[in-house]
């Protein structure tokens, strides 16, 4: 069988994806259709993110891959291995050392910096999809900026539950124009997208769409003045590192249902734990 190209995709395909990326960066939040390829991992398992990463990766890059905030979840391991094998790039688990971070469902806790690129894996790129299943309709709604239904949904949430009942994949408006889906990150992460120093790229392989938030771009989560957007909070800090700033995962530790809360960002957790242990700790 033929020799596999650097980062799996052939150059023709990479060029096609880069063209889509350029357009996406030029029109923040606009979903650019692209001829998504079948990848050696299933659709729905990050093929969009993988294609974006493959198209922007250079041999000098240092790649970090996370799923649910962790570097060692099965899918993160599998994607990191894929690029280590097909591109031979350096990999890292440290947010600060990475030039490209591919993620599923989280934004790292450590603030991203200029020059870094965050690549999101996106299952359903269309924020209007569950209000209107037809692509032909949603496309028109975006074109004409008809986003009233989004607020109707939020209104209904409050009328029914007393709260906006969206806890992840929380829709936001980018650069005062397009409403977009930040991928299924918890709404806790939404504020990190606003004026982020890093370039943020979103790839949806199965749905064949790419979109972007350029560095230092305004991203505002939809809300009402009297029911403002709020992020999740926890009563206790992380049980491992003691940090009170990150998003926490709930762990059930025994049959009696005892629970503890620990950082979902494993790199952040390790860094905080090391800080706490002090410079003398081994």
């Amino acid at each position: 069988m033929t020799q596999i190209n650097f980062a799996y995709l052939n150059e023709q395909t990479k060029r096609m994806i880069r063209r889509a990326l350029l357009k996406a960066v030029a029109i923040p939040g606009y979903q650019v259709p692209f001829a998504s390829r079948e990848m050696p991992m299933p659709y729905g398992w990050g093929t969009g993110g993988v294609q974006v990463t493959a198209a922007i990766l250079t041999p000098d890059d240092t790649l970090k891959v996370i799923d649910q905030g962790a570097d060692d979840t099965t899918n993160a391991v599998s994607i990191r291995k894929f690029f280590a094998r097909t591109a031979g790039v350096a990999t890292t688990t440290e947010t600060q050392k990475a030039t490209i971070i591919q993620t599923r469902h989280r934004v790292p806790e450590h603030p991203l910096t200029e020059g870094q690129i965050l690549v999101y894996q996106v299952p359903i790129p269309e924020p209007l999809r569950f209000l209107e299943p037809r692509e032909t309709e949603t496309r028109t709604m975006h074109a004409l900026e008809e986003y009233g239904v989004m607020h109707v949904k939020l209104y209904e949430d409050i009328a029914t539950h007393g709260h906006i009942a969206t806890s992840y994949a929380y829709p936001a408006k980018v650069a005062s124009r397009y409403v977009f889906d930040p991928s299924p990150i918890p709404k806790f992460d939404n504020p990190k997208l606003n004026h982020c120093a890093a370039l943020q790229l979103f790839g949806a392989g199965r749905e064949k769409r790419i979109y972007a938030v350029p560095p230092f771009t305004q991203v505002i989560s939809l809300d009402f003045e009297d029911h403002p957007f709020e992020v999740q909070r926890w009563d206790t800090p992380c049980a491992i590192c003691g940090s009170g700033t990150g998003y926490l995962d709930e762990i059930i530790t025994d049959d009696a249902g005892t629970r503890m809360f620990v950082c979902s960002d494993t790199d952040h957790c390790a860094t905080q734990a090391a800080l706490k242990a002090g410079p003398n700790a081994a």
């Binding site: 074109a143 004409l144 009233g148 607020h151 209104y155 209904e156 009328a159 029914t160 003045e225 029911h227």
Partner: protein
């Protein structure tokens, strides 16, 4: 002038729906379009309100040619300055969301972002169309036909439009409900200074609501004039037939 329709023609494959229709509408004026079934009333209403394309002629709204207007500007008109009351309330309502959200939608679409005041306004409008505001979190599915029709009216009027299109607004309702609804509509139109085009095959409705009337037959306007005049002393043969064929009201 609010609306100016000139030489409008609309045909479906082989079938004439509107032929050379022209008329003017002034602010605050209510025009009734009457005519037998299939005479082209609904088609005309849809053409004017840009829901349906037409073959030739022009429609100007406040001097702007609707034919030359972009889709975005047209939709903007539809959700701010215009209202459309459908014969079947289900076509005009979002049946999947609460009554309150139905009324509040236009406010949100034009940028209102205060939940409390949206709700307040929605409640006021529900009261105004005689629906108990305590029922604002219910689905319109739980409403009667007459209530749905009133909800549809509230949903349209909440943005304080200047022109409202109504296609058989009292169709399918029983007589006593019809009478109440007409009363309500008459009051609203007067209080808000609304202009309206009301399609109806019922001359009693025309008489109650409109100041001017336009009689259509086979897609053509056969007569138009002040409602009282036309009903008292119809000129065209077809109008005479129409007036004489209904019970005196």
């Amino acid at each position: 002038m609010l609306l100016e329709v000139k030489g409008l023609n609309k045909r479906y494959e082989g079938q004439v729906a509107c032929e050379d229709v022209s008329f003017d509408l002034w602010p605050g004026e209510v025009l009734a379009i009457v005519g037998e079934s299939g005479s082209g009333k609904t088609s005309l209403l849809k053409c004017i309100s840009t829901q349906l394309g037409f073959d030739s002629g022009t429609v100007h709204y406040k001097g702007a040619d609707l034919g030359a207007m972009g889709e975005a500007a047209k939709r903007e008109l539809m959700r701010t300055q215009w209202g459309f009351v459908h014969q079947d309330a289900r076509d005009g309502l979002r049946m999947g969301v609460s009554a309150g959200a139905n009324v509040g939608e236009r406010l949100m679409a034009v940028g209102e972002r205060h939940y409390g005041s949206i709700r307040q306004t929605a409640a006021e409008w529900m009261a105004r169309v005689e629906i108990d505001p305590a029922r604002m979190d219910e689905s319109p599915r739980q409403f009667s036909g007459g209530m749905r029709q009133r909800l549809q009216i509230a949903r349209n009027l909440v943005s304080r439009p200047q022109l409202i299109f109504m296609d058989e607004p009292t169709g399918g309702l029983d007589v006593s409900v019809q009478a109440r609804l007409l009363d309500l509509l008459r009051g609203l139109v007067r209080d808000m200074g609304l202009a309206a085009i009301v399609v109806t095959h019922d001359l009693a409705v025309a008489k109650l609501l409109s100041s001017r009337i336009m009689v259509m037959q086979k897609g053509r306007v056969v007569e138009q004039g002040l409602t009282d005049q036309v009903l008292e002393d119809p000129q065209a043969a077809y109008s005479q037939l129409l007036v004489s064929s209904v019970l005196q009201v």
